[in-house]
Amino acid sequence: MQTMQFKIVSLIMFALFYCVQADAQNMQKGKKIYETRCLACHQADGGGVPNMNAPLDAASNVVGKDIARLVRIIRYGYNERIALDGFYYSNAMTASPDLKDNELADLLTYIRNSWSNKASAITVAQVQAAKKKK
């Protein structure tokens, strides 16, 4: 009984450790993509540039539930000039049509969990489902 308990606990511990580890790795991969493709406009602090490039930090859409929209923006670029949290941005966002599903998942996980953002991590399955939504 004791050993059984021990086994279960260690299994849970291992699973937890593995998850955290995987998350940290995903965050790291997402950060790399962010730095090469997004940082120029959205800045190191995720704060964007007032009136020009939207902030990702503390942006309700970025930590929100509409994952399909986020995937679409990243793949096809964005230049709609609608109010985002009450402000307008003038620049045209570069499209990243070549990102793979796992890269999109890592990138989304990263922007949803950096700076002051705290939201669920995004899985490859979620990205694939989001792509189907169009």
């Binding site: 090469t36 120029a40 190191a44 704060g47 540039v49 009136n51 670029g77 003038s90 620049n91 966002m93």
Partner: protein, 413 residues
């Protein structure tokens, strides 16, 4: 006795801190600054009448629902105590000529009438001087200035970074010829008195300018001077040709004297301040070394890259020391495209002029707008210099379009 002297010392300290505070700005010796107004809204360009009433054009209407703000400092303490406003549309340009006030939206220019007290008489029924100009998000702001004959010059910025087939996309080529240039990417000239003008009634005065926000008429040369925002993102689109560090320094932000018909070379070339050459844009086959733009102007002054010159003002007054007379002040908004390297700018620069020509290196005149921690992130900056105006007494006003501060800078003899 001890207590009294302590008290006096404390008073002295408080006084000197106050005097040295200069609204948080760092200025050359002998200059001081006050916070003339604060939190008025996204104050873009500013203009002043001959009684010292200051007007600011806001990028968006403020909380009070005003997009043109009028500020008056009747008691002369350097702080506006009477602040009113009107107008609903956002925009950048503003210009006062006698009792006439011009203000621009992102696609039109309107004319208001002021009375003897500098109060607007037709706040809801201005004359429409120019209308239906391109406003396509990027570089949409319309800066304006007038010449002594009453012609009005309007910047129509290019709605693009480098005229690629697909804007800001990796691997997309530059269009040849660039189709944007027929209706944007230059300065247009109109009659300052005629109503309802548009492209058909105006004239493309100068071309090859990606985006000009600072422009001013120079009375010594009797000609138009402009400051251009150079292109972005050489490293993002051409990572094998330009490192992050090279992108942070390329291309220069530039000042030109533009005569009718002049071409500054955008999008085909950019100016490299290290090689001191006009370099063919990579979108047009350039490799960072090939030259181009044989018929394009060379800049009169080259400033560090990406600092974003927002306003240009030739100093006409006598309050400042002689070296400033006829020289150029430039308000730099502060960079974003130097990332991941530290950002730069967020200051007002000065270029001395003699006989209408630059006569010495540019220097920082007023600094510290970004705030004491000085991290210079575009979002974190306390203030971002955007507009300049010279008061009738020769004081210099600087506007900030992030939090809406107006600084008044004076020199004490």
């Amino acid at each position: 006795m001890y207590k009294l002297s302590n008290f006096l010392l404390a008073c002295l300290f408080a006084l000197s801190v106050n005097a040295q505070d200069n609204a948080g700005l760092k200025l050359p010796t002998g200059f001081s600054a006050t916070l003339f107004a604060d939190q008025i809204g996204t104050a873009r360009h500013i203009a002043i009448n001959d009684k010292g009433v200051l007007f600011a054009k806001l990028n968006n209407a403020n909380k009070a629902g005003q997009s043109i703000v009028r500020m008056e400092d009747a008691n002369g303490d350097g702080i506006a105590e009477k602040i009113t406003g009107w107008g609903k549309y956002g925009g950048t340009g503003i210009y006062v000529k006698g009792n006439q006030l011009y203000a621009s939206s992102d696609d039109a220019v309107y004319l208001y009438q002021l009375d003897a007290n500098g109060e607007v008489t037709n706040p809801t029924s201005p004359k429409t001087i120019i209308q239906n100009l391109h406003s396509r998000r990027q570089h949409a702001s319309k800066s304006i200035t007038l010449d002594p004959k009453g012609n009005i010059y309007v910047n129509i910025g290019a709605y693009s970074n480098a005229c690629q087939e697909k804007d800001r996309s990796v691997g997309s080529k530059g269009m040849m010829p660039c189709p944007i240039l027929d209706s944007a990417g230059g300065i247009w000239k109109f009659d300052g008195t005629k109503e309802n003008q548009s492209y058909a009634e105006g004239k493309r005065y100068a071309t090859g300018l990606r985006n000009v926000i600072g422009l001013d008429w120079n009375n010594t040369t009797n000609s138009l001077f402009v400051t251009q925002h150079g292109r972005d993102q050489l490293n993002t689109f051409y990572p094998t040709m330009y490192t992050d560090a090279q992108n942070a320094d390329l291309p220069a932000e530039t000042m030109y004297e533009m005569k009718e018909g002049d071409d500054a070379g955008w999008p085909y070339v950019y100016y490299d301040p290290f090689q001191k050459k006009k370099i063919l844009s990579p979108e047009y086959g350039g490799d960072g070394k090939l030259e181009g733009g044989k018929n394009a102007l060379d800049p009169l002054v080259a400033f560090p890259a990406h600092m974003a010159p927002m306003a240009l003002l030739f100093y006409k007054g006598n309050q400042f020391p002689a070296k400033y007379k006829e020289g150029a002040f430039i308000a730099f908004h502060g960079s974003w495209n130097r990332a991941p390297l530290p950002q730069e700018g967020y200051f007002v620069a000065f270029v001395p002029f003699k006989n209408g020509k630059p006569a010495g290196e540019w220097e920082i005149f007023a600094n510290g707008f970004a705030g004491a921690d000085n991290n210079k992130s575009p979002r974190g900056a306390k203030a971002r210099p955007c507009g300049l105006a010279e008061g009738p007494d020769g004081s210099l006003y600087v506007s900030d379009d992030s939090k809406g501060a107006i600084f008044k800078i004076s020199f004490k003899k």
